[in-house]
């Protein structure tokens, strides 16, 4: 428990009268992969935004890499350090990149900001990161408008990894991708975790994808966690009725449409 790289305790978020997140606690070990699953509006993104500091918790605590992140950073340096430790990749590969910047330039910019590498080393590191996510030199030099959705999402992942985060939050980052591209990106994510030891907080509503990518899972409903455990256990033998319903609703070979009445 104590050696967790990310620890979230009693997290709560109110938006006016409404409570979007209530009493959410979990921890993520170094190089681990934890899924947050749940349906639209269950509070997954709000949890992620509080972890990266885009939203201030109403109550509770976020500790990443041993440091409390629940309060605003006190200096520019602390802000930068925090940014380097935790990176986030969002769902939409079309809006997350600057349309005027090539992937190579975008990754290089992050390296300049977050590392002390000199110019030559930065160039070498850009090539390494491109290789890690499976993009070639031509794609790294192209403008985002020339890249497919899957390629852009790989650029977003490469850019996030350039900051050498210990924790990468992926918020529905593969949901919009075509099946054949999604499979490529999922394999890349597995490779990257194995090769760099980065930990994933993987937000998704897709249980099959969650099975493929994560070790543990928490299931959220109406802002609260209703079930948690190793991914295989939760998917093989879900205990909470809501998790059972989620699992039963996923189309799979031999799946029958449920009867209405």
């Amino acid at each position: 428990m104590t050696d967790a790289i990310l620890e979230v305790e009693g997290l709560r978020k109110n938006f006016g009268e409404a409570t979007a997140v209530r009493d959410v606690s979990f921890s993520l070990p170094p190089a681990g992969a934890l899924a947050i699953v749940g349906e639209s509006g269950s509070g997954k993104t709000t949890v992620a935004r509080m972890i990266v500091g885009l939203e201030r918790p109403t109550a509770g605590r976020v500790t990443a890499c041993g440091r409390d992140r629940s309060q605003p950073a006190r200096s520019a340096r602390e802000r930068r350090d925090r940014g380097g430790q935790v990176q986030i990749v969002f769902q939409d590969p079309y809006s997350s990149l600057d349309p005027r910047q090539s992937p190579a330039a975008a990754v290089e910019e992050v390296l300049r900001l977050h590392t002390r590498l000199d110019r030559g080393r930065r160039r070498a590191r850009v090539a390494e990161l491109a290789d890690l996510v499976g993009l070639d030199e031509r794609q790294m030099a192209a403008l985002p408008s020339r890249l497919s959705g899957g390629q852009r999402q790989r650029v977003a992942i490469a850019r996030a990894l350039a900051a050498e985060p210990r924790i990468l939050i992926l918020d529905e980052s593969v949901a919009a991708l075509d099946v054949s591209i999604q499979a490529q990106v999922l394999n890349v994510l597995a490779d990257v975790r194995e090769r760099t030891g980065v930990a994933y907080l993987f937000i998704s509503h897709d249980l099959a994808v969650v099975r493929q990518v994560t070790d543990d899972v928490v299931v959220m409903r109406h802002g609260a966690i209703v079930e948690r455990g190793p991914t295989d256990r939760v998917l093989d033998a879900p205990e909470h009725p809501y998790t059972q319903l989620l699992r039963a609703s996923v189309p799979r070979p031999g799946w029958q449409v449920p009867k209405t009445r």
Binding site: E39, S40, S148, G150, Q151, D178, V179, S180, I181, Q182, A183, Q184, L186, N187, A190, H205, L207, A208, V209, R211, Q212, D232, L235, L245, L246, R247, A248, S249, V250, P251, R252, P253, G254, W255, Q256, V257, P258, K259, T260
Partner: protein, 324 residues
Amino acid sequence: MNDLLRISGLTVRLPLDGEMRTVLSDVSLSIAAGEAVGLVGESGSGKSMTARSIVRLLPPGALVEGTIRYRGNDVPSLRGQRLRDLRSSVSMVFQDPRAHINPVRTVGDFLTEALRVNQRVARREAEGRAVRVLDEVGVADGPRRLRQYPHELSGGLLQRVMIAAALLTEPHLLLADEPTTALDVTTQAEVMAILDELRRERGLAMLFITHDLELAAAVCDRTAVMYAGRVMEIRASALLHDHALHPYTAALAAARPSLERRAERLVTTPGRPLSAFEAPDGCPFSTRCPHVRQRCHDERPDLRPLDGGQVACVRAEELAVSHD
């Protein structure tokens, strides 16, 4: 033939960046009365263009070749009242309900408009019918819903309203273009249940478009798989996952992670899905196919009967043999 719809050799070109680009190439597909046919493929493969061709809702400037016959009538030559009749007999449901409903008008106005304007049904009568159809798609408090605005309804509820709207004209064929892609899985299951029930109770035929082979299999007797504007395979839906005839279908099935067990590594296909105008000569899948041979480049494989289905791959027999 007693086909309700019969498409043969459909080729569609659209103006794109100042050039005419092929988006559908030689598509052939038929649907019998009361039959549900799945149309599966990745983005840009031409699923939506196929559906829009059927109801003549292609973008301006489209060039259409081939034949589309609906109940024996030649669709491209329909005009005036006959075209309106086609559009009330063939209804469409789209992926994103919010993009297809006017946000400042009530659900009731939306639902009754076509009846009141096209069929001159009185408002009260139209509203009565709307409430009955809402009930049929599982929306119980119809009279209250009619007074609500789209933003007051959840995505799942709004999609049911769209399905209700599609049913109000008493169609014989429903074109459902990814009707559940924007919905949560539990809501998706509910909407699928409604579509399946309508099909059985009303004898409604359906073209069900999705990128999910399993979802198609749950409601469709047969499924057609598209790639680069062409049909690669048509087969009994239940057989597609494990007994695909076409390498592209097999690749699609393999790429999708399983809910039951984690794969050591997903089997991937290099590259990305292509649109028709980007596809190479010969087999459109040849740039990505693990089984490609020289002859795949030499001729464009036609869709031909095999093993109870149809397939467009020159090596289908030998590959099917080596599977077993």
